[in-house]
């Protein structure tokens, strides 16, 4: 019977090409707008590390000004001081822990025709690689010894390795950064995180780094910090050492805790640590430490852009208008078919039979609209890429899940739109339409 309904639906759609096109176009436009904006929101709110997002925790300590919270109502600062970052690392109370911050340096590649360029780097501990598990193409992370001593070691991104070493296995080679010879210990394979969750303080959707270097280098060779620095009081004393010991915050700190018990233990450890610091005259505010897992942290930092959300809500309302439109057009179409409906009732079709027949017709229109909508969404995303450029790089791509969502959304919304007209069509009293009018 389904095939019969499908054939009837096809004939009916062909019967009024203008009306059918109009309906499909209305659904397509609604779905196109909804899918375009849904895609961006979906990708912005995606879980960047689904396998481990509940084991990785971002650490916040309230080291801020006694007179006012870091932000209302009583939020602890979003970063740590250098002092706390290094001391938490040394304590080693979690399975893995890494402090990190954004840095930058000029790379001077060797070889003809290769120009110096500005490399974005991440200062971090080698636990970074154990926690976030980036894929290694060659080599491995630097050693614990390199972490402690601040060796001039570097793990390169695939792109940087391609540019500087033409993609060859460069492990053991050296690369010149800040006029110093760094030894390449590892090369990552392609690694893109959207959002780049481990550091959202300078923008959740920034590009990945060119390379990763031991955190200790911040101190030993004074590698610059290019992230945000916030201070509630001036450093005590002059010079770089005083600055590092100041209450200025500009470091992120992640830990891996594999169980709820481990999480509790770590929280107790943090509280004890702060109590101990209070003895030294630091941490003037009441105890207010936080552990947030990846998705909690993304929520807290509101990585999904407000504009993107507003656009999504407007687009969903747009879809509602398109559906109201489709309801009207379907009413028109089904009333035009009332003669046929009455005849089918007379020759023995039950209401249920006719309901199915028209649902299939509606769904077919929905599929047509859905396919059109996905094409429009694709065009819409191209348009958005052009409008936003790098600001939305990697966030305007349809994947298979989204295509599925799009088709499902189209069918569901067309069935919703079709419910009332179909119901009404099937209520047509058969006798009324069979007489000559």
């Amino acid at each position: 019977m389904f095939m019969y309904y499908l054939r009837l639906a096809w004939l009916s759609i062909r019967r009024n090409p203008v009306l059918s096109t109009l309906m499909m176009a209305a659904i397509a436009l609604g779905i196109g707008a909804a899918m375009t904006t849904l895609t961006i929101n979906y990708l912005m709110s995606a879980n960047p590390i689904p396998d481990k997002s509940e084991q990785l925790f971002y650490v916040q300590l309230d080291s801020w000004d006694p007179n006012q919270p870091y932000s209302e109502p009583n939020e602890p600062p979003d970063q740590l001081t250098y002092r706390d970052a290094t001391q938490l690392k040394e304590a080693g109370a979690a399975k893995y822990q890494a402090a990190m911050s954004q840095s930058a340096a000029v790379v001077e590649p060797e070889g003809l025709g290769k120009k110096p360029f500005m490399a974005h780097l991440r200062l971090t501990h080698n636990d970074f690689f154990d926690m976030f598990e980036p894929p290694f193409l060659y080599g491995q992370p630097w050693s614990d010894e390199a972490d402690k001593q601040g060796h001039l070691s570097i793990v390169l991104s695939k792109k940087t390795n391609d540019e500087v070493f033409d993609g060859a296995n460069s492990v053991g080679q050296t690369i010149t950064l800040m006029d110093k010879q760094f030894e390449v210990v590892g090369v990552l394979d392609s690694w893109e995180l959207k959002p780049r969750f481990y550091d959202v303080t300078t923008g959740a959707f920034n590009n990945m780094e060119h390379g990763y270097v031991p955190f200790k280098l911040r101190e030993t060779i004074e590698m610059p910090n290019s992230g945000n620095t916030n201070c509630w009081k001036s450093p005590e004393g002059e010079g770089f050492a005083a600055f590092l010991q100041s209450e200025c915050i500009n470091y992120q700190f992640w830990v891996q805790l594999d169980s709820a018990a481990a999480e509790q233990d770590y929280m107790s450890f943090l509280n004890a640590y702060v109590e101990q610091q209070k003895q030294l005259g630091r941490f003037p505010r009441p105890l207010n430490n936080r552990l947030s897992d990846v998705m909690e942290w993304m929520e807290n930092q509101q990585v999904v852009d407000d504009d993107a959300q507003v656009m999504m809500y407007l687009a969903l309302m747009f879809l509602v208008v398109c559906l109201l439109n489709t309801v009207g057009l379907l009413l028109t179409k089904f009333v035009a078919k009332s003669g046929e409906i009455a005849l089918r009732r007379a020759v023995g079709a039950s209401r249920t039979d006719l309901y199915w027949q028209h649902l299939v017709e509606t769904a077919l229109i929905g599929v047509g609209g859905g396919i059109g909508g996905l094409l429009l969404a694709w065009c819409g995303l191209q348009g958005i890429k052009t409008l936003y450029g790098d600001n939305l790089a990697g966030l305007a791509e349809l994947d298979l899940t989204l295509v599925g969502i799009g088709i499902a959304l189209a069918i569901i919304s067309s069935l919703l739109a079709g419910a009332y007209p179909t119901w009404r069509a099937c209520r047509i009293p058969p006798a009324s339409q069979l007489k000559t009018q």
Partner: protein, 233 residues
Amino acid sequence: MLTMNNVSKVFRTDTIETTALQSFSLQVNEGDFVAVTGPSGSGKTTFLNIAGLLESFEDGDYLLDGQSVKHLTDKQLSRLRNEKIGFIFQSFNLIPDLNLFDNVDVPLRYRKLSKAERKQRIEHSLEIVGLANRMQHLPSQLSGGQQQRVAIARALAGDPLFLLADEPTGNLDSKMADSVMSLLEDINANGTTIVMVTHDHAQAERAQRHIQVLDGKVTEQHNGPVTAVPLRA
């Protein structure tokens, strides 16, 4: 086979009540050819709709093939219509998108029949009406008389207990009307019961029985002359 006992039907709007049928009683037997006549608004169409299970009624009872239809659900009524009744309308009511084969197929689709069985029935009934060679044509490619023949084929394909014809020749010129009438007479002669509403007294006279409806009541009922049915070879 078709028995109505004191059937009443009242149409209501917000302000007006119209009695369409009043204590309407009628008995149709197997093999009958019954013509129903009456002026506009007499209730003959209401009678036909009730007889065809297209409309409900208030009082009285209607037995179809010995079964009371009063308390049946929509599904059961649809099924009865499908299996026991064949409809023929004044304006043919063919579905314009479907070719002749598919038009005749419509009632059969609502019955669980095999594809081969449906095909056999469709071809057979189109043969009876003399259009077996035009199965792939669309209704719009046919004359009015031919379209009505397709409608008759559609009514016959389900192998119904009786045919209900509502002004079957009303949209046809006299020559075509005559040939459609002859076809109905042939079908009746082969054993199919026919109830036909018409306003054409000449046609009504050709039927075995002639019933007149006035103000929702059967006012006159007599056995008409049995016409010599010219059987075709």
